[in-house]
Symmetry: C2
Subunit: 307 residues, 2 copies
């Protein structure tokens, strides 16, 4: 199976208590692709500027990621600068330069059109919808969003939610989207907007999968994956996108989308999110092996296994 | 097996988004005893004033809790008033009146001296140590503490930690006690102070059990219990003490303290903590049945079970 992902490919300057890095390769589509590439074929749709060259291209190539959908255009790539000095769970944004991303018009290569899985990373919901509608044949569509779209682009976002199978967001976003403080009730409200599955990411505490049901009941259909207790968090940038890549990549690798496959996907998501935090930017994901991933998956299983 | 618990029996006035209650029966030893009473025999050491009468006595009696160690004295019982209006995870204290608790001198009835388990709820570490040393024959000692003792009574608290098998505290307390922001490193530091086991409670996200090892390694010896995703949190007062009661009560009911028993104890702790939040004060614990507890324990198991 293969996944097409649309989202940002960017440069990030990051400061954390562990140090500082200038202009790391980043962006949601980059983290997602690298994480998912350990499980399945990945194809990227993005736009970059003249500062994106063969060195960055090689990172994708080393993981067999199809970059024919990355458009190269005049100007500079999306740039983000942020820090996590007071709180490792929440970035403080210092600079956001959209650059070529500001006029992004996703173009879907013909060779991508047989992808069975589609991931709409956090971009303008108008673009998310356009890509989703241009790929009507996909088997499963997942997406992400952020506070900015929830607050100021709600109607467009609600149109996207109607067309998603899985939405992945964090606690704060879920509460804001549902306008409800209790997470279970927030989840129910979000599921009523369209997605069949909702993954709420709790940062260092793991993530919960809510599955909508006709009766509107939760509980029996809820699943919680812990986060791996990391001894050292170097840089949390991209942890959520890496979670999404592990989660969706694992699903795409499965012959059938059973409830068990979704549960294991949650653990693989948490596994990939935990690796992402161990080095700056995508450094750890670039160096990772499938054997290391499966070893940590087993430790995750032991971490919550009762018998 | 039986547990002796020393701690506060008090009255609480509580305000939450769900409403307000005046002078509910509360206190750490009350929540702990009620939660543990579903698993084993419980004996309480506390002090109360003239405002504690037959109605309150009956709550303990209905759960077979031995109250011969509750001293009745002239004056008023410990009183706490707090609210959770902005954040259900953290109480805002409005009033603390120690009253008769201010000169508490724990007296251990002779009939309590054969208890195999001892729980030192959150009180002055000088008193915790005194009770611990007066019961040298116990098989397992667990304790709790809070920011006030960590900040201003550290030497006395460190003396208690040397004498504990299990310490149960929350994230903030663990970070403060260890002076380390990363929870895994904080756990390692706290274990180096004496306890063999450390339970860090994460509020609505569950709890993690850290088990000290000669090698100073964690990970393989770490276990995480989720919290039950509650649809409605009426009042979180006493959730941590109820967790401790479920955790320690279950351990005391087991023929052997195996790693599996500790893991199941974590789930029973989370189970009892979740019930405590469903009504004001101890209302839900008072109405609970063992069958309901075991049913929720099974749902907890399913909530994180992979296969």
């Amino acid at each position: 199976m293969s996944i097409t992902v649309v989202g940002s490919v960017a440069y990030d300057s990051i400061e954390t208590p562990a140090g500082r890095r200038e202009r790391c390769l980043g962006g949601a589509a980059t983290y997602f692709s690298l994480a998912a590439s350990f499980f399945t074929n990945v194809r990227v749709i993005a736009v970059v500027g003249e500062d994106f060259g063969s060195e960055q291209e090689a990172v994708f190539a080393a993981h067999g990621i199809d970059t024919r959908g990355i458009e190269h255009t005049a100007g500079k790539s999306f740039f983000w600068e942020g820090s996590y000095l007071e709180n490792l769970n929440e970035a403080k944004t210092h600079t956001t330069e959209l650059n070529v991303f500001g006029s992004f018009e996703p173009k879907i290569p013909d060779s991508y059109r047989d992808s069975e899985f589609l991931f709409l990373a956090n971009i303008d919901p108008v673009l998310q919808r356009r890509v989703r509608e241009a790929m009507p044949g996909v088997k499963l569509v997942a997406g992400d969003t952020m506070n900015y779209w929830i607050k100021d682009h709600r109607p467009a976002l609600l149109e996207v939610l109607k067309r998603l199978d899985v939405l992945l967001i964090n606690d704060t976003e879920a509460r804001m989207l549902a306008n409800h403080n209790n997470l279970v009730q927030a989840a129910r409200a979000v599921l009523s907007f369209g997605p069949r599955f909702l993954v709420i990411k709790h940062g260092e505490y793991g993530a919960t999968l809510f599955h909508g049901s006709a009766q509107g009941k939760t509980g029996e259909r809820t699943f919680r994956a812990p986060a791996f207790p990391l001894e050292s968090v170097i840089d949390p940038t991209g942890a959520g996108d890496s979670f999404a890549g592990g989660f969706f990549g694992y699903l795409a690798s499965q012959p059938e989308l059973t409830p068990g496959a979704f549960r294991r996907a949650m653990f693989y998501g948490s596994t990939m999110g935990s690796f992402a935090c161990e080095r700056f930017g995508t450094e750890r994901l670039q160096q990772l092996s499938r054997a290391e991933i499966d070893e940590r998956f087993q430790r995750f299983r032991e971490l919550t296994h009762l018998d």
